[in-house]
């Protein structure tokens, strides 16, 4: 088992041209074994690029191929419209990796989906995507770092620390069910709690590794959920212990104001909720290895 995507997931890549990022990553995803069934490009409908049939719109791609997931890596000015197009076409799972979308566009797209397309799950924007090890990889995660077979589910706000955490587990011979990169933007479509709930319900996932970072209150909300509703063990690492307050650390999301949203505050709340809190990604891998060892 895995969460959100598996070997049956059929992906349409939005914005495919001969030299687009979408094509580059779409081909990588296909090479991993992901069913990349279609691409879209308003000027290239009817063409084939690298064996991927191209459609002018997502709606056409869905009716021709039965695509049930979309992958968006179009530039920021067009990303929000692409998300809305996919939702309107009936796509139930949208992955948007685009970085730098204006917050106003993001907030509007999120709320439009929440209201008009409640059955659609958006992952991202500004996220690395999702990988169900050995089954399906949508996004920019390097597939060869993941080890199939479980028992660990991963969820991360940061992209590169997400890769780092998968890699730490794989190095120790610990497999993963699904890794979900939720992204660090102010209005993520999918949050920690959505993923924790899915992992709690997934029989193959036995433990969860969670990567947070400074700013906002997503980790605090996750802690509440873990305390009230999780039976599976959770290990967490929060990036940004050394970050000075009031400074923006790259991600639109990663900004601390006062004592609120600091790594320390988040680590304390998580620890109180029974989470094993590690100080760096390597230590998080080690703590998870101990948990997995005790299970077998």
């Amino acid at each position: 088992m895995s969460v959100f995507v598996d070997e049956t997931t059929k992906v349409v890549v939005q914005g495919v041209g001969p030299s687009s990022q979408g094509l580059y990553h779409g081909l990588r995803n296909r090479a991993y074994g992901t069913q990349v069934v279609a691409g879209t490009n308003p000027r290239r409908g009817g063409e084939q690029i690298e064996g991927i049939p191209i459609f002018a719109t997502v709606t056409e791609a869905v009716s021709a191929t039965g695509a049930n997931a979309s992958f968006i890596s179009v530039p920021p000015p067009r990303a929000a419209d692409a998300i809305i197009e996919a939702a309107a076409a009936g796509i139930p799972f949208i992955v948007c990796i685009t970085e730098g979308i204006p917050a106003q566009d993001e907030a509007r797209a999120y709320n439009l989906l929440r209201r008009d397309y409640p059955g659609t799950r958006l992952l991202g924007p500004n996220c690395p995507g999702i990988i169900s090890a050995g089954k399906c990889n949508i996004g920019i995660t390097s597939g060869d770092i993941a080890l199939p077979g479980g028992p660990v589910g991963l969820v991360s706000r940061s992209g590169t620390v997400f890769y780092q955490a998968i890699y730490e587990l794989t190095q120790k011979g610990i497999g993963q069910t699904t890794g979900v990169g939720i992204g660090g933007d102010p209005v993520p479509g999918t949050g920690f709690t959505d993923c924790l709930r899915a992992f709690e319900a997934d029989p193959e996932t036995k433990a969860v590794l969670m990567i947070g970072e400074i700013g906002g209150s997503a980790e605090e909300q996750a802690a509440e959920f873990i305390q009230s509703s999780m039976t599976k063990p959770v290990v967490a690492y929060i990036a940004g212990v050394t970050a000075p307050p009031g400074r923006k650390m790259g991600h639109a999301g990663a900004i601390i104001s006062g004592s609120k949203g600091t790594a320390k505050a988040k680590m304390e709340v998580l620890a109180e909720a029974g989470v094993i809190v590690a100080l760096n990604p390597t230590e998080a891998g080690e703590r998870m290895a101990e948990i997995v060892a005790r299970m077998s």
Binding site: I140, V161, V187, A239, T242, N280
Partner: protein
């Protein structure tokens, strides 16, 4: 990008929000000229991107050219909580009857816009927020619906804004929302929003943070220049399109992704080193960006070793390696480099670095080991 008060007011004015008449001055003579234009009495206001200007003596009332001259010369060059005053805003003085507060920002928990209004505006608003949160009326605004005059009137009434000011305040709130949304602000705040003795409601201050991600559709933002050069390292990084925050340590950090860059700083500190900076070369970092990043780090005299921590997703290992090789050819890198490279095409990248074979460049397999090595090379005591 944070705006200065005068830029915020100019931005407000574009959206029809009433502000006091005024002008910008970078010298004492200019200050007097602006005061003559707007008419006495005027307020001489320090333009710095930090709160507490009034308490620091950066805001003064002047009734004559001599008084403007006196206050302007005292305020220009003044250090307000680490910010040197280089520019003044001279505006027509207002007779204040009441001080209110109004703002729009994003509530990241509710994922909706949040409007806050209070009848207890002014310098103590943060204390009001802490001690009597009920004195601040809150309204969530769904970005799909927007804000209508009726809802604005409700929140104004809920905030107990004085009767004579309510209609104007509600209309102003609708305009402020439009400024916040169409103007792509992360924050649009008026504190104080005043009711003057002549019965007019207008913005006496402006705190505006623009969303940098929206710059592509706002060519008019180019006019918001900044007289404060700021941190030299940060200025250089900004020019090169890098995400950089200067810190006080001695290990220069380059990583891809904000999370990994923060994590790298954390690990360096945990092993006994001190990060000199946070630097994220971004998602699709190519050879040029890596070379630029190394040049920025190289400009920091405190840096005694450089730790490059790359985990490839969108960033490909061979591009990173080529970038480092290019940069080493372009500039004399002063500090030794420790690199840890993993992920997409990492092997190709490592092979390029190995073939280049510089003794100033060490490849270390794990993040923690690499942090230790960088700390040692910087002369620190690695734990």
């Amino acid at each position: 990008m944070d705006l200065y008060e005068y830029q915020g007011k100019q931005y407000f004015a574009r959206f029809g929000i009433p502000v006091s008449a005024g002008g910008v001055a970078d010298s004492v003579d200019e200050a007097v000229a602006r005061a003559e234009e707007v008419g006495y009495p005027v307020v001489v206001k320090a333009q710095v991107k930090v709160g507490g200007r009034g308490k620091a003596g950066g805001i003064k009332l002047a009734s004559s050219a001599e008084e403007v001259r006196l206050h302007a010369s005292a305020i220009l060059g003044m250090d307000i909580r680490g910010h040197i005053v280089r520019r003044l805003w001279i505006e027509r003085s207002s007779d204040i009857a009441k001080e209110y507060y109004a703002s729009f920002t994003l509530d990241r928990t509710a994922k909706l816009h949040l409007c806050m209004v209070s009848a207890k505006g002014g310098v103590e608003i943060e204390e009001v927020a802490a001690t009597e949160p009920e004195a601040i009326a809150r309204l969530h605004v769904d970005p799909v619906d927007g804000l209508d005059l009726e809802s604005a009137a409700r929140v104004v009434a809920q905030a107990a804004i004085d009767e004579p000011a309510r209609e104007q305040a509600a209309a102003l709130l609708v305009e402020l929302y439009r400024c916040y949304v169409e103007g792509d602000c992360d924050l649009a705040e008026i504190n104080p929003l005043i009711l003057a003795t002549d019965g007019r409601v207008h913005a006496l201050d402006a705190k505006v943070t623009l969303d940098d991600n929206a710059a592509f559709r706002h060519p008019e933002w180019d006019e918001f220049d900044d007289p404060d050069p700021g941190d030299e390292r940060e200025r250089l990084a900004r020019q090169k399109g890098l995400q950089y925050v200067g810190l006080d340590g001695f290990v220069g950090i380059i990583a891809n992704g904000a999370g990994l860059a923060m994590s790298t700083c954390d690990v360096v500190e945990q092993v006994g080193g001190e990060p000199a900076n946070f630097l994220d070369i971004g998602g699709g970092a190519n050879a040029d960006q890596m070379a630029n990043a190394l040049e920025v780090i190289n400009s920091d005299d405190k840096v005694r070793s450089i730790f490059i921590n790359i985990f490839g997703g969108i960033t490909r290992g061979e591009e990173v390696a080529n970038g480092i090789v290019q940069a080493l050819g372009r500039v004399e890198i002063k500090a030794p480099i420790v690199i840890r490279l993993d992920g997409t095409n990492a092997e190709e990248g490592r092979a390029i670095l190995a073939a280049y074979g510089s003794e100033r460049l060490e490849s270390v397999p794990t993040m923690v080991e690499a942090a230790r090595r960088a700390t040692e090379l910087a002369g620190g005591a690695a734990k």
